[in-house]
Subunit: 286 residues, 2 copies
């Protein structure tokens, strides 16, 4: 197979380049362009509209941090909604909790799921095997609007960046719909972009303004995601009741006896301790 | 000026590329090759033997984290030795503490200092203006071996990677010499590489093994450095007496009233809370 080079423009001039890749799939769907590549260091990875979504080497970081943080704050969560997350990695981590009863996963583009099942079973395997996971191939905002009020204990917004099909998942209407669909002690985790380069920092601030205006508790936590722009990435934690640090239940979480390669109980609190320039940017958003 | 492209191979196949740079200086010294570039997003940056050392956009992170962590553990530090650190950024941060009496800076390659004074005054300016900073252009190991036992309260090893002139600064003999040159409550901070890609992880483990064998207290802390390989970088904190968390003195540090853009008292403890895969790699080094 002909080797090619994958380049992602983190900014106009700062690029992540991955040399010697096999371009194993290319497809245009009604929603976006999907590409899969095989690389030496990162293993299989896929992109949507040319942006890195997940790769075999570092996907464990993102999927640990989106799922285990809320489950260590409310370890009795039973009903989970995942918006996006087509690679299945978020569902895979959530499905490790035996006490969780239902996992609804709403992905607008069925082709992302089917291609990940073919090419990236490391993330997608739980979608084939866990009967609690129900796949819904439809628009996330429409699905959440149609959900019963208070239906979910946890909503995980595992979205792309706020361009293309992911744009609606950063809207005020979407966060409002999530608020309604969450139980009184519900938790919303959202992909919160990055503080470092201008483009992602603007989206971080916009998302924070909107969520902060709706939820009693709205915090932000960070992690190291080497293949996302700058490697410094964030999730938002919003809740009507639970504070991610004051209500953290490490002893209970440890009884689940899950081995996690990135997340751990010490790192849980630490992830919310942000650099000063990030705190200042978020504070100005309030 | 002709525009060029700067590429740094983080691994054989994963590269950071900076497009549209002006190559403003190139020089071979007896020790290494020095290049300065001007870029759109990162501002001025320089490389040693082709590896990014510092740039105007993210140098504040590295220099915050190497200097303020130890000074918030022992706020009475008076005598500081900096090994390497030719760009002057570490000396600049240390010099913000008025109570510090002497700052010896040992840089093997005078040209690094002189070129940073010309091209990167943002980091180098304190070298010109602060009389407490004494520059020594000599080998770091030889200098530390020649220092009086117990001379320093703090040694900051602001080195390049363990190849080329930086190699000796990762040796057992060097760490042993630092131990001898430190006072009974002395602290050693060292550039501890990265846990993520194989090459830096091997060096992280090797450095940790050596320091851990010498010092009663040896911990590792992390930060986000977007332009270093993977963006996930570490410093080591070693001491004969002080534990970086148990002996942390945030109230005292706050009285210095220093505005720092990355470091803050909450982040201090949090930085020592490492991902599980990093803890496991370091534990295996013990």
């Amino acid at each position: 197979m002909k080797k090619t080079v994958y380049t992602e423009k983190w900014t106009d001039d700062v690029h992540l380049t991955i040399a010697d890749v096999d371009h194993i799939h290319h497809e245009k769907t009604p929603f976006q362009t999907i590409d899969f590549y095989r690389s030496i260091t990162l293993g299989i990875f896929f992109t949507l509209d040319g942006l890195m979504m997940a790769n075999e080497k570092d996907e464990f970081i993102y999927h640990d941090m989106i799922s285990h943080v809320p489950l260590a704050v409310n370890p009795t969560i039973r009903h989970v909604l995942i918006i996006g997350g087509g690679d299945g990695g978020t569902a895979r981590e959530v499905a490790r909790y035996q006490h969780i009863e239902t996992i609804d996963m709403v992905e607008i583009d069925e082709r992302v799921v089917r291609l990940c099942q073919d090419h990236l079973p490391q993330t997608a395997h739980a979608l084939d095997t866990d009967p609690r996971i129900r796949l819904h191939f439809e628009d996330g905002l429409a699905f959440v609007n149609g959900a019963k009020a208070g239906r979910y204990d946890l909503i995980l917004v595992d979205s792309t960046d706020p361009i293309g099909p992911g744009e609606g998942l950063f809207s005020h209407a979407f966060y409002q719909a999530c608020y309604r669909a969450l139980s009184d002690d519900g938790i919303l985790i959202n992909q919160h972009e990055s503080p470092y380069f201008d483009k992602e920092r603007r989206e971080m601030v916009r998302a924070h303004e909107k969520i902060n205006a709706l939820f009693a508790i709205s915090e932000v936590y960070q992690f190291h995601q080497p293949t996302y722009p700058s490697g410094h990435w964030l999730f938002g934690f919003a809740s009507k009741r639970y504070h991610p640090i004051n209500d953290h239940q490490p002893a209970k979480w440890e009884t689940f006896n899950l081995h996690t390669r990135y997340y751990n109980s010490d790192l849980h609190k630490a992830a919310f301790m942000l650099p000063t320039y990030v705190k200042e940017a978020l504070h100005n958003a309030r």
